[in-house]
């Protein structure tokens, strides 16, 4: 579906379903240089299990127009605006990487609307190395390659996707290569400059899942302790043999973990 946000066309994937306000809603937020499609299997699952499942394209990503926002605070505010336009009073947020920081910020600032929060492949703070930050600005094509290298576990580098016949790393880099100029750099600036993550985490009152990859080199699972301890009601789940691209590497396990967390077993 398309909505108008700040006079910009904004795309939201809904698995071809309409929003019903009597159903619970889960909003999926993608990471840097990605779009809604990284969540397609999870979105389809929840859409047939009693939920409004929405995967949004952030400003200047995927099919959404506009200019990329280079702060987590601004992105969080933009998501809040989307929920108001959609007349969603309560929702669960699932964010990956940069999207997890947006979810974290939103849940800390707008406690009343976020029921549940799932942070997938997350760290706070989420520093981006000077080299990668500069490369994202001067040589984005090289930066996409670097990200693709860092985002997958050793196992995944030879493939064997749960989705038959599809290359995980192939789809991942082709999606990044379609990113508009300047967007990756803006995304990385947003991640790198978000210094308030742990402070924000302390204000979260909703149940929160940290879903992590044991082989994540971008946001290592070993660096989430502060975040875990700061969030009053947090649960940690680590997927073995999985890198930063959790939804690509383990689509079924990610869905199962989210189902257990959002719906219950």
């Amino acid at each position: 579906m398309l909505i108008n946000v700040d006079n910009q066309v904004t795309y939201i994937y809904t698995a071809a379903q309409r929003i019903h306000h009597d159903k619970p809603t889960v909003l999926f937020i993608h990471g840097a240089a990605n779009d809604h499609s990284v969540w397609n299997t999870q979105c389809r699952y929840f859409s047939t299990h009693g939920w409004n499942a929405l995967a949004i394209d952030l400003p200047a990503h995927g099919k959404t127009n506009g200019v990329a926002l280079d702060s987590i605070s601004a992105l969080s505010g933009w998501i809040k605006k989307c929920t108001e336009i959609l007349e969603l009073e309560k929702l669960s947020i699932v964010g990956h990487s940069m999207g997890s920081l947006i979810g974290l910020e939103l849940a800390s600032k707008s406690k009343s609307i976020v029921n549940q929060l799932a942070l997938v492949g997350t760290n706070a703070p989420m520093p981006v190395s000077d080299q990668l930050l500069e490369t994202s600005k001067s040589k984005p094509a090289l930066a996409y390659q670097m990200i693709n290298q860092y985002s997958f576990s050793n196992r995944a580098k030879l493939g064997k996707n749960d989705i038959p016949g599809i290359s995980m790393q192939g789809v991942s880099i082709k999606l990044m290569q379609r990113t508009k100029p300047g967007v990756l750099h803006a995304d990385f600036v947003a991640c790198n400059s978000y210094a308030d993550g742990v402070a924000a985490a302390e204000k979260i009152i909703c149940p929160t899942l940290l879903l992590l990859g044991a082989q994540d080199k971008m946001t290592p699972a070993s660096r989430t302790k502060a975040l875990e301890e700061a969030i009053p009601d947090s649960t940690v789940k680590i997927l073995s043999g999985t890198g930063h691209a959790l939804m690509a590497e383990q689509p079924n396990q990610v869905t199962d973990c989210l189902k257990d967390f959002l719906i219950g077993t």
Partner: protein, 428 residues
Amino acid sequence: MSDHRDFKLETLGLHAGQEPDSDHGSRAQPIHFTTSYVFPDTDTAASLFNMERGGHVYSRISNPTNAVLEERISAMEGGVGGIATASGQAALHLAITTLMGQGGHIVASQSLYGGSHNLLQYTMPRFGIETTFVNFRDLDSLAAAIKPETRLIFSETLGNPGLDVLNIPAVSKLAHDHSLPLMVDSTFTTPYLIEPFAHGADLIFHSATKFLGGHGVAIGGILLDSGNFNWSQSDKFPTLSEPYEGFHDMVFTEESPIAAFLLRARREGLRDFGACMSPMNAFQIMQGVETLGPRMQRHMENTRSVVSFLNDHEAVSQVTYPELPNHPDHKLAAQLLPKGCGAVFTFELKDGRDAGQKFIEKLKIFSHLANVGDAKSLVIHPASTTHFRMSDEDLVAAGIHPGTVRLSIGLENIDDLLGDLKQALKSR
């Protein structure tokens, strides 16, 4: 080398898409000889049907053994995925029917394998899909043949029978300037000799029966997607960019902007037309793929020796091979195909049709049959077999002379191959 692979072709050929079997540790890829897969519960069953989960439902649509082959060849080509099909012809048909329906139009090279030409010239028009055949060396003619209803530009990387080298960068640019995809049949070249995606092609198919298998025991094909073409940039591809009632109004370009083509091809094409590959064939072709790199290297070494031998032989009037300076695409071949121009080529005997027949009958190692790309060397005399009903004049018009002989050079010891050719030419 494309930009998302951590390993080179020979390594990918052995490992891509596969992990040792989790149940028994089998190093070789098991053959999943099953039509269907037990669902652990009703919810999982429904989720698999609705593409909420990765996995397998029915082997016409996907199979674990086939999936390894699909990922493996896709990795070797630098694509985002593939679909194994019953044959190369099935792959071509699957691509066409995924991209267009009645009223669609294709611009294809006039130098095509006969089976592809038959499908486009005679069969697809019965279903409302027309093809214009042009000489792809003439880009102006190619551009002029494009119509508003054109949906695909199609050629072989090495055309039939003259081994026309496809200028993939130039043709793909022309196609993209018209918001059209370029699909190539890379059967003769395999990912060892050229990676068409790296040069601008959008789709590739192979007759895996040939060099990919290499053993001549299994028929199969594979259709691959580069993930580069933006199917929603125009309204030319509603099968991908508009809701599909046959799958719960799925819009494939929204579901996956990158793999939309493969999604539709599998979810509609394999589901409804059903031209899937047998898992046994997938396994057998995989055995060949594992050694594709070393085999192609040997194919090229032997082919170059045979080409050189024939080119110098007094009984031979012409050898058609792009590495020879007299071939019209010699310079382009040096640029695009530095590792070699394939192991299939033709040559002309000075003494015509009778000489061709006698030559073939004298051969001892070369097998006289209608196939190419085998580990065994093969030969056929078109004028007395595939084109035997044609007059000498009609043969020439088709690019085949009465004395034309087609060879597919295999992996035998080169001394034995040259010795066989020498005695057959001597005693003709």
